[in-house]
């Protein structure tokens, strides 16, 4: 057998196959429908739900939405902004991965004269040059965090040591949630934050850290976690160590958190509605493209969930 011939044929086949796969992945797009780019991240069920909301609303309203996942990486998101500009969409809904770098991204969209709706995370607040956007829609992150911080402070009876689990340092929600805790603690001078732990959202890391912290701070009375996921992880460690006296709050209102509140593991959380955020963004996009004049901000509230009212909530993610 001539192995050379086989290999050469093999190469041709493989090149053809790769072309075929790419071709199969591509499909025709109808140019008449409005194109909306939705730049976000998908690394948590929260975002998956926002994506579902956005897709469903886009289907209802008859627009085409392209969702790009920046995986919490601002550099990648700016590259995606260039990509979406080249794709000539009519409008971009943007969940800015980080505030300062994405001001540059929005400026690029401004230069390309593509209108922007900012979703879920605020932008342009802390300087970095002017950038223009149509409006902001999303959870009132700060108010939601204040709700959670108040649940914690009251459950602790206004005194004791607490630790804070941050997620994705420097992102808008992280800044807002840290600020919310500091602002609420002004009214509770006897509550002392003893440690702040940054992490990237891995439960196992939160658990390991929590075990260490329980040893380090035997008088610990509360945990303020920037997300249900980590609150639950921390609460499970407390439960295992028979330290159910430690009050743990998260924020988000996930199904799992609601179960944990029912079971008495978690003290409370604030209720966010990612699906509604996605829908709201697409609705506003269509209203804007229809020529309506929009306001600057459309906030979505986050009510508190505690043991008392937990039965009223189902959770969106």
């Amino acid at each position: 057998m001539n192995s050379g011939k086989i290999i050469k044929t093999g190469i041709v086949v493989v090149v053809a196959a790769t072309l075929a796969v790419v071709a199969a992945g591509c499909r025709d797009q109808s140019p008449t429908r409005r194109q909306i780019g939705f730049l976000m991240t998908l690394d948590h069920p929260y975002w998956q739900n926002m994506r579902l909301g956005a897709k469903d609303e886009a289907r209802k309203l008859g627009v085409e939405v392209t969702i790009l996942n920046a995986k919490e990486d601002p550099v990648l998101q700016i590259e995606q902004i260039k990509e979406i500009i080249a794709k000539r969409v009519d409008l971009v809904c943007l969940v800015p991965m980080k505030e300062e770098p994405l001001v540059r991204g929005v400026q690029m969209l401004n230069r390309a004269q593509i209108p922007v709706i900012i979703v879920n995370r605020q932008i342009g607040g802390s300087g970095g040059g002017p950038c223009e956007y149509v409006c902001y829609t999303g959870t009132d992150t700060y108010a939601g965090a204040v709700v959670a911080a108040k649940i914690l402070a009251e459950a602790m009876g206004g005194k004791g040591q607490i630790i804070e689990f941050h997620q994705h340092l420097g992102t808008g929600p992280e800044v807002a949630r840290s600020q919310a805790l500091r602002d609420v603690l002004k009214d509770y001078p006897d509550i002392k934050p003893v440690a702040r732990i940054p992490h990237k959202g891995e439960r196992d890391i939160v658990k390991t850290e929590m075990q260490t912290l329980l040893q380090k701070y035997p008088n610990l009375a509360g945990v303020y976690a920037h997300g249900d996921n980590f609150a639950i992880a921390a609460a499970q460690v407390c439960k295992k160590a028979a330290r159910t006296d430690i009050k743990v709050v998260g924020m988000g209102g996930s199904r799992e958190a609601i179960e944990a509140i029912k079971a008495g593991v978690l003290t409370g959380t604030s209720y966010q509605q990612p699906e509604e955020e996605g829908r709201s963004a697409i609705r506003l996009a269509v209203r804007y493209l229809d020529g309506e004049k929009l306001e600057k901000s459309y906030l979505i509230e986050c009510p508190p969930i505690t043991k008392e009212n937990v039965d009223k909530f189902k959770g969106q993610f």
Binding site: K8, G10, C26, P74, E79, K87, E100, P101
Partner: protein, 345 residues
Amino acid sequence: MRTEAKKSDAGRTKSPLSFRKLQKASILLLLVGLCAFASFRSPTFFSWTNLVDNLLTNAAALGVIAIGMTFVMIAGGFDLSVASTTAVCSVVLVLTMDALSPYGAALAIPAALLLTSLVGIGLGTINGMLIAGVGVNPFVVTLSTMLVFRGIALILTGGGQAKQVADINLRNQFNWVYDAQLPLFGQDYQVSMPIVIFLVVFCLGIYLLRFTRFGHYVFAIGGNEEAAWLAGVNTHRIKAATYVLCGFTCAIAAAIFVAMTATAQAESHVGKELVVIASVIVGGTPLGGGSGGLTSTLIGLLLLRVIDNLLAQFSVGAEYRKVVTGMIIIVVVTVDVLAKRRSRK
């Protein structure tokens, strides 16, 4: 490998279409084929905005690192630490610019760039000394320095906060590195600064690799280190130099990234080392070195980018892009292995 390739070519003169050439041509063909396909299917693909402003500009910074990586890999090495090195360099760049901002942009920017280059070179030297001097496996060394450098970046930024030059004027002046558009082909067809930077580094790289003794030694070491050593080449120094060069290209890329985002972040660029290595390999520089070149790397990088861009143009999710990229790497490496096996016969 270079000598080996010559030998095998000489041994198979009856086949004018040598296997190596076919392999290289298949990548180029794939690239051309995809571009042709794309321009028929998507109205926006073959536009200046998409090809130059989007595709090439986005590829430029990684392309610069890929040039350094090509040198390392032709010499038979491997560098996993490039993404971390870039992170450290961007942090250093922003911190020094911020510290020097009272002295004005004319001093702050060149001084910060100089220091950043030195840091890049320094980190490359650490890799080079451990690999060439001590003789530890490059995979192990750069895997460790990848973690160490990332840690340094985190320490410098106080745990991963995004760092920014406080002086808005200075920041905007530096953004020029990314924003500047040169009307090389007229007002409607402008070329962005990152592409220009890439082209300059690319030409310098070609000169260094093809027309200097250093470049020949790099090939010689990748082909047969022992033989190169016996022939009187200071293989340790040359090998170390490839890592230093790679560190330097990371510093250049860091400048582009900083201008792109106006921030430096310790945790950015994670995973970019794999994209860089993938484009070098797809281009045709084999693991183990000895052959390859910068044009091949450029083709490899463009191929990966075009596929990515094409799938994005058709609103295909990132999950498919990964499958396709992975498949292409497997194919290229398989063909490479088969080619080697054949040339040994």
